[in-house]
Symmetry: C2
Subunit: 228 residues, 2 copies
DNA sequence: CTTTCTTTGTGTCAAAATAACACAAACGGA
DNA sequence: TCCGTTTGTGTTATTTTGACACAAAGAAAG
């Protein structure tokens, strides 16, 4: 095909912010670069878009080859255009964020290469490129999204206790939420469904197990859980 | 500079959804193409990104050269990646939407070329490329954004009546909102400030003029104006 | 000047939602 | 059996909401 644009095209990268929820902490998957630029520094996993690929396909390729993951929740985040964001030249970065339940994948520590590591979102090291900006945007998006979309369920097991859900929200939003009001709102909104089962083998009272309500209408839903 | 990406790069276009508010109707600016593909069809204004340009600069270039506009509210919308979206080959489209007050610009009909035209958002013609998808996404974004961000003020004059603001919301959201409850919510939230002035020269009672509250804290703001 | 018609500003009020709490049941361990 | 903790289920005062009523302000018509 003959060129139809008289402009030189910038390179196009896809970068991923992979969120996971570990031991009551939100974490991000970072990759230690082996080549310049930013050799030996932590960065978000990413790859250049191949000419015939969709963004999602590039995401899948990154998740599969670099992280050994498959079939995760993905959402487009933003496209970054700072001309100086890559020292090698003009690279546009189209970014996505992923929500992963490490329990469901076997990569918790095993299959994961040792240059890939989960980091608590509160203890992020210095990142190469403009990846700190990308990460910040992703966290901000997650915070606002969780208020009107059941995003948290991607991070939890299929069955979960109300406490687990509650702690996840407190952790992502970074605020305290009254346990009892939170529970009531989740129930009256039919955000979650009580399975009747209970989690056994714990100390203290055995909590009930809930599951996400798949029939939830996402529109006209508003989870007002922030105390000023 | 030597190429650092082994991949062939797709072309990168920037397309714009320019919203305006005319005579109590939300409208979009469309451009009649003069060249193939989609010759003589309506499309969103757009251009190829030049290698040294930021997205915003490309937007400004489009607004300036094709539409004779300057200095408008811009926000990145989404990046579209369908490999078949352009018959000429692989073109990624990074899209922005703009909010314009036609009163403030002189292009209402005068400076505007005759291949550029405002269309009521309810009477959009068939669009070339995947521009209908882009438009739909922009309208959807505007609808949700207006509920928690004072986006409407970009579309109105600096001073406006409560009715004007009210009609704008009804028009964008496509629903009826109780005039009196709307007014009360806008005032208690300090979304708008009463200037004390009144609009003269109208029939009937002269309405008070308001202005946007620039000290508004956008966070923890929630405008609940939808009646179920 | 009075009447009429429309728009605008300001209330009212019952119902629903919210935030802040109280308390008892359920569990393991001492 | 008692203790400390977690969990489930209320209660209550306060705020917010939705759905109205009504009078004041203006222009036009008689």
């Amino acid at each position: 095909m003959k060129p139809f644009s008289s402009y030189k095209n910038p390179a196009l990268a896809v970068d991923l912010v992979v969120f996971g929820y570990h031991e009551q902490n939100l974490s991000v998957l970072l990759l230690n670069r082996k080549e310049a630029p930013f050799k030996d520094q932590w960065t978000l996993p990413g790859a250049f878009l191949q000419i015939e690929e969709t963004f999602q396909q590039t995401c899948s390729r990154i998740l599969k080859t670099k992280l050994g993951m498959d079939d995760v929740y993905l959402e487009q985040l933003f496209s970054f255009d700072d001309p100086a964001r890559d020292p090698r030249g003009r690279v546009i970065s189209v970014t996505y964020y992923a929500l992963v339940n490490p329990h469901k994948l076997e990569i918790a520590a095993g299959k994961m290469a040792n240059d890939v590591q989960w980091f608590n979102v509160k203890k992020i090291p210095a990142l190469g490129f403009d990846h700190k900006k990308i990460f910040d945007k992703a966290l901000q998006r997650l915070k606002s999204k969780i208020l009107y979309f059941p995003v948290g369920f991607e991070l939890l097991d299929e069955l979960f206790t109300m406490s687990e859900l509650h702690q996840l929200y407190e952790c992502i939003l970074g605020i305290e939420i009254d346990r009892r009001n939170f529970s009531r709102k989740m129930l009256v909104a039919e955000y979650v469904i009580n399975t009747g089962q209970k989690r056994e083998g714990l100390q203290n009272r055995h909590p009930e197990l809930f599951r996400f309500n798949k029939k939830l209408k996402h529109h006209n839903f508003q989870l007002n859980i922030i105390n000023p």
